[in-house]
Symmetry: C2
Subunit: 348 residues, 2 copies
């Protein structure tokens, strides 16, 4: 048997590569410790008194949180988010809808039109995708549970006015280091029942998160934590800030296009007031006839995501700044061209 | 900036470690090719004319398949499985129940009590967990869809009478090489709509399968395919067959305990009739008073899973043979002791 040894290694897997770690958890304790350390350095979340849950990217944890919160309520939970919002909140909630929850749409609309929200679950993305603004839950009350999606709540994308301390907070390595393909995220959860329901979700959906993925996440966090662990945030902030300033400068020359205004704020990580450095540009076509901003931009070969995707007006387009340098420079060049043409035939 | 280089590597992740591969799929084409090759060597499935879907272990694919099949039917799909069945079918289907499907229980009961099954989805585990027997769907008809869970349909666990050719078939690396912790499985799906629904599930549940997990699965399959690729099946069959024979021999001396009878069958891989080599022993306590077989075994320090977990009588217990050698020898020793005591006080 020429390959008996490799076969033996594989079959040994039956006995060793189990679903759970030695402590009967599906979550590596070492990785948990590294996550807590990254938060303590980024000063972006209070982890004390919270349970940790690993998931397959924040995507899986969003769904797990909706399930967990809806199981804790006696009546149908209406799931909402304030527009403009990340489209997966709707598509995912619709697809996995049970008897316990359903997607209801805009949180702002619900607040305006209902006296009582009843049982509600609000997705709060802070800073928000698409517009990069810091947010708080729109709905208030004892029957409202918020899921804080903090994918972008890192010093490179936003000022951190204070460490986040909400009951359900979701983070992902996808936006910390950019390794979206690894599908690794985690939730910090205050309530034990919600935590246990989320664990149950992970157990029934997939028997936990791949150990190979956990190993990869650990390797990445080790790099993040090299030196004093602050390096990556400085580096990435400078980078994102530079992209934003270049875009801002061009758009400031335009009469047709505007971008979102993100006020400078005190940052708990940098310990000073700092300017914006968001992941996305939320661009608006201001001319009355430009009701489909994507169509206008496409004429200049600029490809973005249309406002209606985010339950907003199609006068808006989201442009991603998470690009290769070459692609960013191309975007910059095309935007400059587009704006420079404004001075042409139509305004003369 | 001391660590600027490592930071640059990380931030580069934003641009390169995307959710999708260059061909816009979340599934590695190289890994797909390796999977097809393993099937062609094991001669356990017809892959031609089937679509491949990757998932986080078979667990996630079971759920994806239920969603996909239920979306294709106009009325509520009743999900069933013939007892004894793998308990996750019920717990998972109950937990994720939508307006489109619900778990109904035993397929045999449904067949006996209903004139028309209506819309039904039947889980068929072949060979079956817990008893290792090859199975076909119990329910028939145009409104019945079967999900074939072929986790154990490999030459080391069962004779392969013919390559499987069902419409929805699920496999997992967990039972091929034993790397359960990697959470990697795949489905072979005949119908394009079902395939697209399963892809949509994977997209909304998790944005696809971790690329790190895919890389690991590829490494494992490369080892499986070393040489002529048949080695691992020979090796693992001998191993499992040996375990089974040792257990059989002991139990054959008993008047109180019996184990399942798996008939020798022609195997398409070995090209000859071969004896049983299942992953589990399905042990029955035959004495009238032994209504809880686990309690009886626990007296001898033998720990198994009780029959009612599998929707069967508690006269049954499932004992796993997927153990380290030491643990198996301990099981053997304790079983021998248990059986040898039968000749004692009670029968004299």
């Amino acid at each position: 048997m020429q390959h008996a040894e490799s076969s033996a290694v594989l079959v040994a897997g039956w006995h060793r590569m189990s679903y759970v770690f030695a402590d009967q958890s599906y979550m590596s304790q070492v990785l948990q410790n590294h996550i807590l350390k990254v938060h303590s350095i980024a000063r972006n979340a209070i982890t004390k008194g919270k349970y940790l849950v690993f998931g397959g990217g924040s995507t899986q944890l969003l769904s797990a949180a909706v399930f967990a919160l809806s199981l804790n309520s006696s009546s149908l939970a209406r799931v909402v988010a304030a527009s403009p919002y990340y489209p997966v909140y709707k598509t995912q909630t619709d697809f996995f809808e049970t008897a316990h929850f359903e997607f209801q749409g805009d949180a702002l609309l619900m607040k305006r039109t209902s006296n009582s929200t009843g049982n509600a679950i609000e997705f709060v993305t802070s800073p928000n995708n698409p517009d990069g603004l810091l947010r708080k839950a729109v709905l208030q009350g004892s029957s409202v549970n918020a899921i804080y999606d903090h994918a972008y709540y890192w010093p490179h994308f936003t000022a951190i006015p204070a460490p986040a301390d909400e009951d359900v907070m979701i983070f992902t390595i996808s936006k910390l280091t950019g390794h979206a393909g690894s599908r690794f995220g985690w939730a910090l959860v205050k309530d034990e029942d919600v935590y246990l329901n989320m664990l149950k979700y992970m157990q029934l959906a997939e028997l936990g998160v791949s150990r190979d993925t956990q190993l990869r996440a650990l390797q990445l966090l080790k790099v993040v934590l090299e030196g004093d662990g602050r390096e990556i945030f400085h580096f990435a902030y400078e980078k994102m800030r530079d992209l934003w300033e270049k875009i801002s400068q061009i758009v400031s020359l335009s009469n047709r296009y505007t971008i979102q205004d993100i006020p400078p704020q005190y940052c708990n990580f940098f310990e000073k007031v700092r300017g914006p450095s968001p992941a996305y540009v939320w661009l608006k076509c201001e001319r009355e006839e430009d009701t489909n901003c994507n169509a206008v931009l496409r004429g200049a070969n600029i490809i973005g995501h249309l406002g209606s995707l985010f339950n907003a007006s199609d006068r808006y387009v989201r442009l991603s700044l998470l690009k290769r340098d070459d692609d960013f420079n191309l975007l910059l060049y095309r935007l400059k061209e587009l704006v420079s043409k404004e001075g042409g035939a139509e305004t003369l």
